[in-house]
């Protein structure tokens, strides 16, 4: 199948193309520069005057795993507001804050997204994460496996096991859970909560293991680098949501000693303690620290006003925040000596001082980080807002007057506490393409996605130029997945099944000896039954695995 996409205005930062008119060719799902002369074109799309980008990639979105399903069960009243009808080609479901799996796939695709990555796969819950994601149509998917509060790692640290042993354990776990990255959530804090510790600062010791979050970050960031995984350690830091945590966050960045590290939903970690309400913006300080430390990247975790639900592995902080639950119901779980989770519904309100300032802090960070390759567009779906708010967020970034109009409507004291009004920056289309495509693919370590260049898989989104960027980005003209047309005029016209992106770093098999002993002594399943096999993803005939390259290990 040869497809010709004629005359679109192309934004492809991965190939260094910034708004040039260019014709693209897709042969059997992948881009080629020039088709062989005699080959007939099966289908041509006239894209003159249209904006062409790669399919967008959400590098941090809670779309698969137990806590998401708890979130779904918890809020039937939210689903009732957004029923999704079945059609001849699509399944029924529910939308809004925590959509059903099929609906999530359709809605992402209808906004031009072709991949999403679950950032918090508990090793023991990996099957669920992958099974849920297997029921998300169209999108490619993948995830980051959570370590850092698991008793096995903490026992290793207490026993002063060497870095090599930790590297083997991390690589083994990534393979067992079918992951493409490693995440740490409130390093050691989820574990400390089980020992009744209610907070854990960067240098505070876990009461049982005598290990600090800083030490956990150090060994895990080192492991990720040394086993060659391209996605840097994905860090949900200490003290989420705590006023004054900006200091902790900057300390976390500087303390990692130049190792690659990604700080996620950094907005929730950028709070000062100034002002009448002892809550202030650390946005500028955080952006400055990102600008200075070239080893650091961050996604924002922007909040947007309205009802949502927060689902996090950080049960220590979620428990501390349960008083804000709206509606007033919430769940916390301790999970399998592995991790935990907390699910708390939230309603962010523009007339609430704290929520209003959170909104401004996120935008400050977006606008004050110089290098668009170091910052990523997320709402930490559904925690800051549902992913369906992305077009609105893009407009806030691209349209200063719109942004200032919105700013003028929020809590007046919050307006006084932000420099947002004085920031003139407006994101360009190329910069948006970096945040949501090329940069995300590079950060995750996807070899052949997020680009319109030769050899890349043809995930393509075509938009009609519109000065109202929200309107433009919420309804693409066309979306192609692996070269197949899946969306026309913002509606799914055809469904496909994406692949699961993983990496397969190597480990020394002797790691299983001590793991097997540990599982037999303390766990509730056999080691052999814990590890996921490839067939679990591929045996239904829909799923597939795509292993990406690693950095060469010196």
């Amino acid at each position: 199948m040869l497809i010709k996409l004629t005359g679109g205005t192309v934004y492809d930062p991965a190939s260094g193309i910034d708004g040039q008119v260019k014709t693209l060719f897709v042969l059997d799902g992948k881009f080629i520069n020039q088709p062989p002369a005699e080959m007939p074109i099966d289908k041509e799309y006239d894209l003159k005057g249209k904006v062409v980008m790669a399919g967008a990639i959400d590098m941090h979105t809670h779309i698969g795993g137990g806590k998401g399903n708890i979130a779904r069960m918890l809020i039937p009243e939210d689903h009732r507001k957004d029923p999704v009808y079945r059609s001849d080609i699509t399944r029924s479901g529910c939308g809004h804050a925590m959509p059903s799996s099929f609906t999530a796939g359709y809605r992402y695709a209808e906004m031009g997204y072709t991949a999403g990555f679950e950032p918090a796969i508990l090793p023991v819950n990996a099957r669920q994460a992958h099974m849920e994601m297997a029921d998300i149509p169209i999108l490619d998917k993948g995830g980051y496996v959570m370590l850092g509060s698991d008793d096995y790692l903490l026992r290793m640290l207490t026993a002063k096991k060497d870095q090599k042993a930790i590297n083997d354990y991390v690589a083994w776990t990534m393979n067992a859970a079918k992951a493409i990255g490693v995440k740490v959530v409130n390093p050691g804090g989820i574990n400390a909560f089980k020992f009744n510790q209610r907070q854990l600062d960067l240098d505070e010791k876990n009461a049982h293991y005598n290990v600090t979050p800083r030490e956990i970050l150090q060994v895990l960031a080192t492991a990720v680098k040394e086993i060659g995984v391209k996605h840097p350690l994905h860090v949900h830091g200490c003290n989420l949501g705590v006023p004054g945590n900006v200091e902790t966050t900057i300390d976390t960045m500087q303390g990692i000693g130049g190792l690659p590290m990604h700080l996620t939903h950094i907005q929730f970690h950028s709070y000062g303690t100034e002002g009448d309400f002892k809550f202030s913006s650390g946005g500028a300080a955080i952006a400055e620290a990102i600008n200075k430390n070239k080893n650091i990247t961050a996604d924002v975790g922007q909040i947007l006003f309205g009802q949502t639900i927060t689902a996090s592995g950080d049960n220590m902080r979620q428990h501390a925040n349960h008083g804000f639950a709206n509606p007033n119901k919430w769940v916390c779980m301790d999970i399998e000596c592995d991790a935990g989770c907390g699910v708390v519904p939230f309603k962010y309100r523009d007339q609430n001082f704290v929520n209003a300032l959170q909104w401004a802090i996120g935008l400050e960070i977006f606008l004050l980080v110089d290098d668009p390759w170091c910052v990523f567009l997320t709402t930490d779906h559904p925690n800051g807002a549902p992913f369906t708010t992305y077009p609105h967020l893009i407009r806030l970034l691209m349209d200063k007057s719109f942004r200032n109009d919105m700013l003028a409507t929020i809590h007046p004291e919050a307006q006084k506490m932000t420099t947002l009004a004085s920031i003139d920056r407006e994101y360009s289309l190329q910069e948006i393409a970096i945040l949501t495509r090329a940069g995300a693919a590079k950060l995750i370590g996807l070899d052949d996605r997020g680009s319109l260049g030769e050899g890349a898989w043809a995930d393509i989104t075509v938009y009609t130029e519109n000065t109202d960027r929200e309107k433009m980005f919420e309804k693409p003209d066309y979306v192609f997945k692996d070269g197949e047309l899946v969306v026309v005029d913002g509606k799914v016209v055809h469904t496909t099944w994406g692949t699961t992106h993983i990496v397969t770093p190597e480990w020394d098999n002797s790691v299983e000896k001590s793991l097997e002993k540990y599982f037999d002594r303390f766990m509730t399943m056999k080691l052999g039954n814990f590890k996921m096999s490839n067939d679990e993803i591929t045996e239904d005939g829909r799923g597939s695995l795509t292993a990406h390259s690693l950095n060469s290990i010196s």
Binding site: M73, R91, M131
Partner: protein
């Protein structure tokens, strides 16, 4: 003959995965780590291998076509039972979406007590490995735990070693309501559980007093439903003094009106305990006949637990109105597809509406259904996934023999295609 070890069980709910079985043709024998729940379930022999329509043996294709005809002719079909593995439940969801059916898991009326509490106020819960390694005090409310799960104590409480307890035999076990049926709860050191018995129907009152005592409320009465308040006061103090208490219950066993309020009472008590400088967690028992699997899969595909209706073209959830037993009784449904891949004793409810049964080989009927399609059992005849009771761990079920029986998913997906 082959010997297979580390076999996970989808039957007991607690995810026992250390069974050994001997397979000889279609015969399976549990040779190690069986129990009164798992052994008969694994050893159940295959009797039916052919599908039937109106009692006559037919090809699988014909039975599938007939099933599709019955569903197509129905205005409000029900997908009942919903007892299978993850792929089987995916098949249930696909058929329900296309046929506009009600999906209703057979254990939902019991589980509803939990869902109502969850959806009103939530809870703080834990999972099996945390119990095994941390639990120093177990309060069992209204259930005979060893009757529910014969190996619970052996696997998760009287384990020799734990990471955080010096001596697991020092764990304290207290029963409130039902007394245990045997001695599994007696510690290896010979200490028997404390039992404070009351009738099930008195549990709301007893739990309310216990929570009040945890919250330091003054109770004037000296006894409540036959239990001395001083005994409850001791429990309240112990719950606060221990490091990681666990309160367990089985929603299905709380068989009295508005039992969801008792689930809520104990869940809120657990939350209270976590505000008085200790940790405590709830632990709901369940996970049998694929009930957690049904709720999980229905959860991610529809966003609701497994009592949902699809006849409007989108999923709707009502834990009372879509009770299939009530719907059948009231004439609100006109076809039933009963899915039960685990248990031949779990037959469809008596009804006059056209009935399709997709069930484990060997099911015997008082009244022959219009269509019967025998299917393989997940974890015996085909690989698959099943959730254990804590809803967190999906165990990977193994294929033990080549019986040639189709899986639930194969049959239901074929029906969906034929619709």
């Amino acid at each position: 003959m082959t010997e297979i070890t580390e076999v996970p069980s989808p039957f007991c709910g607690i995810g026992a995965d250390d069974l050994s079985v001997q397979v000889d043709g279609n015969s399976v024998k549990v040779t190690a780590n069986g129990c009164t729940v798992n052994t008969p379930a694994f050893e159940q022999s295959i009797t039916d291998t052919s599908a039937r329509v109106n009692g006559e043996e037919v090809s699988l294709g014909l039975a599938i076509a007939k099933a599709a005809d019955l569903l197509r002719a129905s205005n409000q079909p029900i997908m009942g039972g919903c007892a299978s593995d993850v792929n089987g439940m995916r098949g249930v969801m696909a058929v329900a979406d296309k046929a506009g059916a009600v999906v209703d898991n057979m254990n939902f009326t019991g589980a509803r007590r939990n869902f109502l509490a969850l959806q009103d106020t939530g809870w703080m819960n834990t999972t099996l490995a945390e119990i095994k390694n941390r639990c120093d005090y177990l309060l069992v409310v209204g259930v005979d735990l060893e009757g529910f799960s014969p190996r619970f104590f052996e696997r998760y409480l009287w384990n020799k070693e734990s990471m955080f307890l010096d001596d697991t035999s020092n764990r304290e076990i207290v029963y409130l309501g039902k007394a245990p049926s045997g001695n599994a709860s007696t510690s290896p050191a010979g200490v028997s559980a404390k039992v404070l018995e009351c009738a099930d129907a008195n549990l709301p009152e007893v739990m309310a007093v216990l929570r009040a005592l945890v919250k330091n409320k003054k109770i004037v009465a000296e006894s409540v439903c036959g239990i001395a308040v001083s005994e409850l006061q001791t429990i309240a103090e112990q719950l606060k003094a221990t490091k990681y208490s666990v309160v367990t219950w089985a929603a299905g066993a709380l068989n009295f009106d508005q039992a969801e309020l008792t689930v809520q009472m104990l869940s809120e008590m657990v939350k209270d305990l976590n505000t008085v400088d200790t940790r405590s967690s709830g632990f709901p028992l369940g996970g049998k006949e694929g009930d957690q699997t049904a709720n999980q899969v229905c959860g991610w595909i529809s966003a609701y637990p497994a009592r949902a209706k699809f006849s409007a073209g989108y999923p709707e959830y009502d834990p009372f109105l879509f009770d299939s037993a009530v719907m059948l009784e009231n004439g609100e449904a006109d076809a039933l597809c009963w899915v039960q891949a685990f248990n031949i004793a779990s037959v469809p409810p008596k009804t006059d509406v056209p009935t399709i049964v997709v069930a484990r080989s060997g099911m015997v009927f008082d009244k022959e259904p219009d269509v019967f399609i025998p299917v393989g059992t997940p974890g015996i005849d085909h690989a698959g996934h099943a959730y254990r009771l804590d809803s967190v761990v999906a165990i990977r079920l193994k294929k033990l023999r080549h019986s040639g029986l189709p899986s639930t998913a194969e049959v239901l997906n074929a029906i969906e295609q034929a619709l």
